[in-house]
Symmetry: C2
Subunit: 542 residues, 2 copies
């Protein structure tokens, strides 16, 4: 415990939130309050006596306020060892200060307000960090508070311990203090670097905790929240189930990314396996959206991670048949994520003990930067938030762009989230936009096309009630392929992809364009009766 009574407090703050309440408590316990200009005035106005800091420093406030607190007397009062240095302090006339309440000149605020360089410089606090760091170094005896949000804790402890603060609290506040000054100087350093055409980048993370392991069991791993960031992926709320694994988190991110830009007025559902969406659908009814997302890859969907963009309803989740007595009918998934859950849906999902149920609204994922750490270096880029620059029909064959726009945009959202090289095949099925098949992560684009076509064809054949090998099934499959769009994340370097697609019945292709052989590719389309749309926007993703 090692309680230290607070007999003398130094208060010098920029953000004056909650200070009067704290000062009153300090007064009640008979603590001397030493204070600076504006802070002192505010406290005095509340009827609480203060000691002017100049009475302690022995110096005037000088140089337009640049010198207020820094002095042999103040920093000595904070830094001397209450045991070892006791006599020396007495002989030098130094009385201990037990508590520092300080927050710094609002550098961040004036920076965000677009202040000029001189104002920025003037808002670099020198005395504040010195006090805070001196008090923190001597936390064995001194309490330091740098954030108004900690006043409540301080007050509670003062009241519990009869005007004293425990060692544990002093230590915890010391840690916060050094984080405060580190963050403060990090922002100043980055800002000054920019002023000097030096490009630096600092990232701060907190609240880290150990995961069971990393991508594999021989790798240890931690998960952190970025400091000061709203709507961090870290904030996802775990309503039920086992702790998240490293790979869960990777896939959850992919699942949310896939649906984050889906129109708010429709339901959207993504099914993720190894970071890639193997199922994705948008449409009017939630259950039907789930069914169609699932059937994008009904084999891989087992053990997948599934995200929704709207409150999850019982009728939807019953699709998983979690309580079917025939266990083979149960559809096991690892994680279900939605912005909310109806009471009944949540109760139903909780039937499965190990299922992770997460609350997070994908549309909140509005982070501007995509960052990759590579062996002691960092790549930073804007997130890929442009869907297309244009929709230019470049072939003789044409289509009604307005009529197909919903499907085209859906398809581009799909391709945006599949690892390169990627090909997606999407269709409109009764007003539902569905990912029918995809080829991901291939060195060779032709293989991605082959994969997407095979998957789409198989899905159509197996997803239908028609008996296999009937003409009706062939006809059904053909009709669906004909109305589908094949979408490529990057341009076709040769006509071979078009030829392969056309051979399997594809008649609508979307790609960014921009190859030196575009003409060859367009000629092939014209010859094969394929409509091709150029978007001008590539969607590489690695």
């Amino acid at each position: 415990m090692e309680l230290i009574p607070i007999k003398s407090a130094l208060i010098s703050i920029s953000d004056k939130t909650g200070i009067i309440e704290l000062a009153k408590i300090l007064k009640d316990i008979g603590c001397q309050i030493i204070s600076t200009g504006g802070t002192g005035k505010k406290i005095t106005e509340a009827g609480i006596d203060i000691t002017e800091i100049s009475a302690i420093t022995g110096n005037p406030e000088a140089f337009g306020g640049r010198m207020k607190t820094i002095s042999f007397n103040i920093e000595s009062a904070l830094l001397f060892d209450r045991e070892k240095d006791k006599e020396e302090a007495q002989s030098l006339g130094i009385a201990p200060i037990d508590l520092v309440v300080c927050n710094l000149y609002p550098f961040q605020k004036v920076l965000e307000q677009g202040a000029d360089f001189e104002t920025l410089i003037e808002n670099i606090d020198i005395g504040g960090p010195t006090m805070i760091r001196a008090a923190a170094k001597n936390f064995k005896y001194v309490t330091v508070v740098t954030n108004p949000s900690d006043y409540a804790l301080l007050i509670e402890e003062l009241q519990t311990h009869n005007g004293a603060i425990s060692y544990e609290t002093r230590k915890r506040l010391m840690t916060k203090a050094f984080n405060h000054t580190a963050d403060y100087d990090a922002l100043i350093a980055s800002t000054m670097d920019k002023e000097n055409s030096e490009n630096s980048y600092r990232l701060q993370f907190e609240k880290g905790y150990d995961l069971r392991y990393g991508e594999n069991s021989h790798q240890s791993a931690q998960f952190y929240k970025q400091k000061g960031v709203k709507n961090s992926l870290f904030d996802l709320e775990i309503l039920h189930g086992k702790a998240l694994s490293f790979n869960n988190i990777l896939d959850i991110n992919g699942a949310l990314e896939t649906i984050k830009n889906s129109p708010k007025e429709v339901h959207a559902c993504s099914v993720i396996k190894h970071s890639n969406p193997c199922g994705f659908c948008e449409g009017p009814q939630q259950l039907d959206v789930l069914k169609r997302a699932w059937s994008g890859d009904p084999i891989s969907a087992f053990g997948s991670i599934i995200a929704f963009n709207q409150e999850l309803e019982l009728a939807t989740v019953e699709f998983f048949q979690l309580n079917n007595k025939d266990r083979s009918q149960r559809k096991f998934v690892e994680v279900v994520i939605a912005p909310d859950f109806s009471e009944e849906a949540l109760a139903y999902l909780q039937f499965h003990k190990n299922l992770r149920i997460l609350k997070f609204d994908a549309s909140q994922l509005n982070h501007a930067k995509d960052i990759r750490y590579l062996n002691g270096s960092l790549l930073v880029q804007d997130t890929d938030d442009v869907l297309y620059e244009k929709l230019d029909i470049v072939t003789r064959q044409s289509i009604d762009l307005e009529q197909d726009k919903k499907l085209i945009e859906f398809g581009l959202r799909a391709i945006q989230n599949i690892k390169s090289n990627s090909i997606a095949i999407v269709r409109d099925d009764d007003g539902y936009q569905q990912l029918l098949g995809m080829g991901a992560g291939q060195p060779n684009r032709l293989v991605a096309t082959q994969l997407a076509i095979e998957k789409a064809t198989n899905n159509l054949k197996s997803g239908h009630q028609l008996s296999p090998s009937t003409e009706a099934l062939e006809e059904f499959t053909k009709n669906n392929i004909v109305k589908s769009y094949l979408i490529s994340d990057a341009f076709f370097p040769f006509a071979d992809n078009v030829e392969l697609a056309a051979k399997h019945g594809i008649r609508k292709i979307i790609q960014p364009g921009g190859s030196i052989r575009d003409k060859e590719v367009i000629d092939a389309c014209n010859e094969l009766g394929v409509t091709m749309i150029f978007t001008g926007t590539r969607h590489f993703k690695h």
Copy 2:
């Protein structure tokens, strides 16, 4: 310019490197040197007069050295505005200090030496950061140097400008000063967090520059070096060619990762397309290694990124036929990386104006952490640096592990670097270990197996001189598949992968094991005459 003559300097340093030389120059220009204890002693011993700091502060050094510099007089001398505050300073008896030379108590050093908590606390510098920050804030008039490596610049400028320092230099040094204090407190904050069971993580990057664009042209991007890190990927030396693109850097990292653990005594070569190795080979002769790496996917190899683990020779690079008059014979790659280049090899490669030629030794990539930034959160894990825990033959059929060990380890290095789900097929070809085919990034493992088998079979058929459709070619292909290993990054959930592989002639399979259906899988192997090895080590990679 706005030159400020250095008439008074305050020197207080922990690292005393190069200080005498600097002090001599200061003496020569007639500068007053104010100094503290140990620093002052060292300078005096070199025959240079100093002013004891206590003569300026008016206070004794106190509390075991905790109070030395902090005082109204010193910080005023650093902070006052030389124009606006001139009269006030005079009336207070404050003379300006024009230069601060200061580096801080060696917190990092004692931390790395494993110091106890008390020693760590004692090594938190309070006076140093105050001086440095005060001088930096007032850089309009004051010069601050925090690193001995900047003394040379300082001396040169003092000599050029007759004992004065320019505004540009003061501004540049100010930026360095705030970076110094930010880094210092960042380390203290992280260390104290750990002491307090708070888990925080701070990353600092510098030397950032704009790339032409990010993964796609609508995304702006930057590339940074991690501070204080050796052998950063950022340090790669560009010997020739266009600037690197975002995607180049991603692929270069993949190329180097793939060969970084290859045995030093053999040649290794990786061929990367969209982050995945589509070709990889190890063996005794460099040219033959390149040929076999290239033929792992001779279509995708065009436009790829290729890395070598040893000095690149002319005989090897002539394989690219960059100066072949028949342009169709030229093998275009985007980037060639090697730890060094023979003069002739470099000259030959430079024939291609746009080819990026990079110098980097892959074996230097020994970074311990793999870090993923995900929408305001961070996943940190140990790098995957375990190849296998065991090599257990779990089937009736067996093989000579010692004889095949080189190939097995090569295959595990390959699978370690292919995106999940992944399957690799590797063979030994005349003492060369070669990636014969791979399936990457598939939601469904069976599809990855299918892809790897197709690629391996096609490569064998097309890479051979035998005429197609002859029995000899079929025989050749079959023999090579039989001696190859099929390697899976994770366990087989069902026996279907084994059945598919066996159907295509595979007889040796390596996988981590650990499925609840391992027995089923092993039974299938026994039935089909397949040898299976369990490694106990999964290699998921996303």
